[in-house]
Symmetry: C2
Subunit: 383 residues, 2 copies
């Protein structure tokens, strides 16, 4: 444990809170990794299988993203951690030569795979792709993540369904704490930060219990898992409100799988530093464009003759070069460029929102966000 505590203070990695908002728990920070800086609060686009779907690494970087997430479960299924390792690790493999984070695989196992057996040590499951039988436990997850070589990796956890009965929740929390310890013990690489994951559903008591145990074990950062899985926005924010005070001020806090603009804004105000979500890319492929004023459905007949960009004033290459009418045409005609251009715009939009929050925290003006981005008042569904 002490070895890890000294490691996080070495030159390779650091996290600094640059400004603490006086009006909320929001903070403006900076993570240093061997592959570059990450300004926080940060939004990580999701590159599930080693690619942010539909765009090149240059297009992702141009949007302002400083870190991308890869999914351990998907990468292990295809092409496997061994192949990624032999091809130079996830960054070289994917052409994204900047910071990356991999998740533990736990969430995907519980949401995608056919589970054959869960016990206190791990999960036996079958691949959702070809039915291959596999096992994931803390040592396996960390071993895979060590091979993938992301800059930040995640402890193996059990994400309980929501809602679930108290006993199921407690068992998942117990396992998550146990697996956190095992994950830390299994972690081999000095050049990777390891984050723990707090589970506990919407039960604040369980959340705090889990958080305290993780802090006791000691991690380089702390994630909040198992939210944005069906509970209301208010329930999610209530959990964060009660939880973040139990996480160390000097360590980054990462809310996994979140979210819509209003989730990002509200969570930043509760002290969250990092986010990942498929929304900008998945919704982009489905013709759903984010704008500060609210979403646009790009297939809509209303755009047919529109020579406006998706969003007036947006600096993304989509808005610089193409009209709503053209983007609509691409979707109607089934052309790949429709998803590509809308994904690019959405990636820029999410980075613009995060950048604006980072700008407003130091001056205590974060409450300007709902005026500049009315979309954060909307609870609109996932497109």
């Amino acid at each position: 444990m002490e070895i890890h505590d000294s490691r996080v203070d070495c030159d390779l990695f650091s996290f600094t809170v640059l400004h603490q908002d006086s009006q909320s728990k929001a903070r403006r920070g900076q993570i240093v990794t061997p592959r570059g800086l990450i300004d926080t609060p940060a939004f990580m686009p999701v590159g599930t299988a080693g690619t942010v779907k539909g765009v090149t690494p240059d297009q992702v970087a141009d949007s302002g993203a400083q870190i991308v997430l890869g999914n351990t479960y998907h990468l292990q299924l295809r092409p496997s951690a061994d192949v990624v390792e032999q091809l130079g690790g996830l960054q070289k493999f994917s052409g994204w030569l900047r910071p990356m984070l991999t998740d533990s695989g736990g969430f995907q196992v519980f949401s995608l795979a056919k589970i054959n057996r869960i016990d206190d040590d791990g999960v036996d499951f079958q691949s959702h792709i070809d039915g291959a039988r596999m096992r994931l436990d803390a040592a396996t997850s960390i071993g895979i993540q060590n091979k993938l070589g992301a800059d930040i990796i995640m402890a193996f956890d059990q994400c309980p369904p929501l809602p679930c009965d108290h006993e199921t929740l407690v068992v998942a929390v117990e396992r998550t704490m146990r697996w956190a310890r095992q994950s830390k013990d299994a972690h081999q690489r000095e050049d990777q930060w390891l984050f723990g994951i707090v589970q506990g559903g919407t039960d604040l008591e369980q959340r705090i219990r889990c958080a305290e145990r993780l802090v006791e074990i000691g991690f380089d950062g702390y994630a909040v898992g198992g939210l944005s899985v069906g509970e209301s926005h208010e329930e999610m924010i209530d959990v964060l409100d009660g939880l973040t005070g139990h996480l160390p001020v000097e360590r980054p806090r990462y809310l996994m799988g979140v979210g819509m603009p209003r989730d990002l804004y509200a969570s930043v105000r509760k002290g969250i530093d990092m986010f990942d979500c498929v929304l900008p890319t998945r919704n982009g492929r489905n013709a759903y464009a984010f704008t500060a004023a609210g979403p646009l459905k790009m297939r809509n007949e209303a755009h047919r003759l529109s020579d406006q960009p998706i969003e007036e004033g947006c600096i993304c290459p989509t808005c610089a070069g193409f009209s709503r009418g053209y983007v609509r045409h691409l979707f109607i005609a089934g052309e790949m460029l429709g998803p590509i251009l809308t994904t690019i715009h959405n990636l820029y939009f999410f980075q613009r929102l995060m950048k604006r929050m980072r700008e407003l925290i130091p001056s205590g003006e974060l409450e300007r966000i709902p005026h500049e981005f009315p979309i954060v008042r909307l609870g609109a569904g996932k497109g």
Copy 2:
């Protein structure tokens, strides 16, 4: 007729043969259009529905392409010439602000649509998308192309099937000549070049008859249509060998819908200046990568652990940033980036081949091409 002849000598457009190969009929030339230069021999990527499939206009331009083709048939069906016109014309609409060429729609009507009736004046057909009943004739085709606003437009023609009986062929040639005259009469815009299309299958007598009639009418350039539709490579080259001498030296010659690298090389040697083909893009989407040494099937197991680029020495962003192993993974995982990266490489490859031919013509060294690009010796099929 004289009006057009004076128009083509005006400032807007010109074609200059810079070098005539002494070893073959190949020539190195340059077309000037209001939207930019086109170095010939030139290869035009196909942007069927107002987008080169899978890539942005910037990526197309970066590959070295100087002109892109749009399909009148597809654009009229979706989103319609009226919409394109209202959104500023095909270049502004598609974000490709450089030279464009539209075909007449004839080829697609005969290959894609359900034909209801062909007569000496035009074709009644039903859209392959929604069955809508439409008619295309010379005046309609030119009217649509005037609205689309490409820099070079094509006369309406009838492309006969190959093989076909002599009578069918003669009827198609007669109609093509008749429709060429009607196309020229219908053409309204001074800022668009109009090319005629020579039909006649593999019957050289019919080809020459058609060519002579088109020259009599007088066009800004001359296309060879109805090839690469099933005949052998040798038959195609024989037609060109016998035909190009009947086309004016001072006008660009365009071989439509061609082709594989060996077709391009052999046709350049017969005096062809322009080509278009879906091969780099369609094959790219199907994991078929062109290299000087021959094609690669990117799904192949052999690439699984390869850290080589698709083609050593290639300057494209795909080869600069990504391994064969990664590109293979993208295709196996069904990721959009696989088609995108392979399309980009293929677009660069086709431009590199054309550029090298343009470089070698002035020094009379065109026969170095088969040594530098062994792929031109291959008759490999369309992937």
